[in-house]
Symmetry: C2
């Protein structure tokens, strides 16, 4: 066994090899084109063929997830060339792995019959994941090819909303009865060609498929084969229902180090299971969506997306921020006569607005995280409010005081310095208040406190900062 | 088996129950204090005792991870009360689970002998995780209690840097020889009291402990017990070395749906294994650190941290942002005479700066993510650069044009509108350039492109936006 293991570097190397092959092939095509050789002759070229054979063999040795990675890293034309060379029986697995944007680009090029052939080999829970992206005709054809049980599973899997345990669930499970011996279980397992991935436990059910307990493989393996399942099964094990929140399920997997968990309906009937790999994918998708949302990106941009797609993906955020900037601009506009009399105000006002935005974002980040982890009861609001206000006051006196001195030094006007210090302190207090109140209120209203808070903070601290600073200056300096 | 499964809600309920018990107890204490009853009489109060018994029984039924959660959610005095009531033999497991800030607060209250007793039951890889937080005297005592093999493991585990596979590794593994039958393996496993958690495969080694392959339990269970291990073991399975990057290992777990992976040294000798639960924890810690870093929070703030701790945690970021704001302020200061002549400039300039910051952050978020996923070769720089510039130009003409019209409408000066449009377009182009160049350059220099990019973008687009807008205005309007 090779102690290679540099999996990431290996994958990078595969990508570079394939890019190299593609670019060599491009050079051959260019050469041929310059000689005005017709396209079908080119395809016959020996060199060209040799590259394609090499490419084909490389692809055949890669895991579907790795091919998905490479497809995502290639520009559209090269991506479609590679996609065309992938063995048809792997298409389904690869479609499951690629990002939404790339999946769309691949599905567009496939004939309905090809698509049906690609996806009909998938498990029903995987089919449900792809369903929203497939033409309805394709889904109907696939549906007709399923057994009654599979149709029921597929209907159920599609019906669970994103973010629920049902959407993470698969139907690959091995169940046993409680009144048999381990010896019988062991012989039963030998009838399988293979066990489902992530089988760390067998599910013990009664005649009506009600979950009675679980039998971890670890327990099965270390105990005397004569023992009955009932004597060893764990009856207080975890289970989920399909409507439980996926986020909570993920927290349970992390907290209790789980590998698979049974999913049961209201009556305790075993429906399926959730495995740790589905949870890993869920966590990754959730954090990625959050990262993108923070910069106002509505969806993952394929790196090779067209300029127009990028503009469309980003415009809502820019428009929203422009509106808040315009409001802030009108606040300044209301004080134009003060600025005309004391132009130093124009230079100093962005500092007051800026520190409010930065500090408010720190507060909201802390609180949103604490809410997400379930650590903030509604009764903590006053305590947190007081703490954040105190932090704001200290920072105001500290940084506000410092900047007040700077303003005094720059403009030789101590009253301007005093206005600067007061405005910064007040804007920090405003930022702290909004940073606590906005996420707590959103939580009370049952909305996601992570969304939109940052824009709101910046809007308030910009307009508020300008208003406080220019207002104080107008009152005391003009 | 109960179809309960609302694990998250259950935990919230436990927390509320405990808070309720603590507050009832507080009321008894208050009552007693008002009657000036001496403290030791209070402890004897029946009501008080009853609450504590109830609390104790609740705690005894909770998983260590749940007790950790509750300790984190309680203010310091109540936290220490609960901590004192936890059975001593669970202290070690709980210390492993709590956040750094809370762990510190708990360790501070424990006598060295208590600490030694708490941690000496842990595995060596867990000990290594706690080691940085333990007093050196405690570590020495624990070290003396270890076997030679354990000492070696502990030394190794401590030596691997954070972020390496070595730091995720544990030493709980079951290894077998290749020249025995499955029957022998099954009998060998029955000698164990229990198998290590996350044992989804056995490691096949030779006499010198070199890894020869792996035997998944799934394979062990479905095959004829007469078969030899050598005939069934997988020789091309994954392995890591301790110096591999933890992030890459995590990507492999996600990509290939792994549960455990062996770790070998340069010569192929089996050292330990990485399991999916360690990977889950690693992913969570990494994304949390990123989220905090984005708002300039240096570490997780315990929700009940003191005001001073919060100020210390946040000041670097505020200071850094104040410096960049001060630079921007001096840029404006250089154009004060222009603003005095045309005060509309003061009201419009934050719009120009703001759109640059927002758009630049979108660009840098896209590119940092693409780099992290390994999808951007160094040769993609020019392509990305061109694309982002095009997006900037379109947005400039679109939003810049719109705001130009607004400025014209507001101030009745079409030349001011034209300057507005040009300045916004140029600042968007500047943002796009910096958004591509900064992360790509950091990657080339081998530094983490995710850190500091956002501050740099905002600094450049603020100062740059003011300079471009006021500069153009001074040239063409004044």
């Amino acid at each position: 066994m090779e102690p290679s293991a540099e999996t990431h570097h290996d994958l990078q190397k595969s990508l570079r090899d394939i890019e190299e092959l593609l670019s060599r092939q491009q050079r051959v095509e260019d050469l041929v084109r310059r000689q005005a050789m017709p396209r079908h002759d080119l395809v016959e070229t020996l060199v060209h063929k040799q590259h394609l054979v090499e490419l084909q063999s490389k692809l055949d040795h890669l895991h579907p997830a790795d091919i998905a990675f490479i497809l995502e890293a290639l520009p559209l034309d090269e991506r479609l060339l590679v996609w065309g060379m992938v063995k048809a029986d792997r298409d389904g697995d690869i479609l499951l792995e690629v990002s939404d944007a790339v999946r769309e680009s691949l599905i567009e090029t496939m004939a309905p019959a090809e698509l049906v052939a690609a996806v009909e080999q998938l498990d029903t829970d995987e089919l449900a994941d792809l369903a929203p992206d497939l033409p309805s005709q394709v889904m109907e054809d696939v549906f007709r090819g399923l057994s009654t049980e599979e149709r029921e599973q597929l209907r159920a899997a599609i019906s669970y909303p994103e973010g629920s345990v049902g959407a993470l669930m698969d139907f690959d499970l091995v169940s046993v009865r409680e009144n048999v011996s381990l010896e019988v279980v062991l012989r039963y397992l030998r009838l399988f060609d293979e066990l489902p991935n992530h089988t760390d436990q067998l599910f013990v059910v009664d005649r009506e498929e009600h979950l009675r307990g679980v039998l971890p493989l670890n327990v099965l393996l270390i105990n005397d084969p004569e023992t009955e399942v009932a004597a060893l099964m764990q009856v207080d094990a975890f289970s989920f229902t399909p409507t439980d929140e996926a986020d909570h399920a993920a927290q349970a997997f992390e907290r209790y180090d789980l590998v698979s968990v049974p999913v049961v309906d209201d009556k305790g009937k075993l429906l399926g299971r959730v495995t740790v790999n589905a949870v890993l994918d869920h966590i990754r998708e959730t954090t990625e969506a959050e990262q993108l949302a923070q910069a106002g990106l509505r969806e993952e941009e394929d790196i090779f997306a067209s300029v127009w797609d990028s503009v469309r993906n980003r415009w809502v955020w820019l428009a929203l921020n422009l509106v808040t900037a315009l409001v802030a601009s009108r606040v300044i506009g209301a004080f134009e006569s003060s600025i005309e009399k004391l132009v130093a105000l124009a230079a100093l006002m962005p500092i007051v607005a800026g520190i409010g935005g930065n500090s408010g974002n720190q507060t909201i980040t802390m609180i949103v995280r604490a809410i997400a982890l379930g650590k903030v009861g509604l009764d903590s609001e006053r305590r947190l409010f007081r703490k954040e206000l105190n932090v704001a006051l200290i920072n105001g006196l500290l940084w506000g005081g410092l900047l007040g001195l700077v303003a005094w030094g720059l403009y030789g006007n101590w009253r301007l310095g005093l206005v600067m210090t007061s405005a910064m302190t007040l804007n920090l207090a405003l930022a702290a208040s909004v940073g606590v109140i906005v996420p707590m209120t959103m939580q009370k209203l049952g909305r996601d406190p992570a969304i939109g808070g940052s824009v709101m903070i910046t809007a308030v601290t910009d307009s508020g900062g300008f208003f406080i600073f220019l207002g104080l200056a107008t009152l005391f300096l003009i």
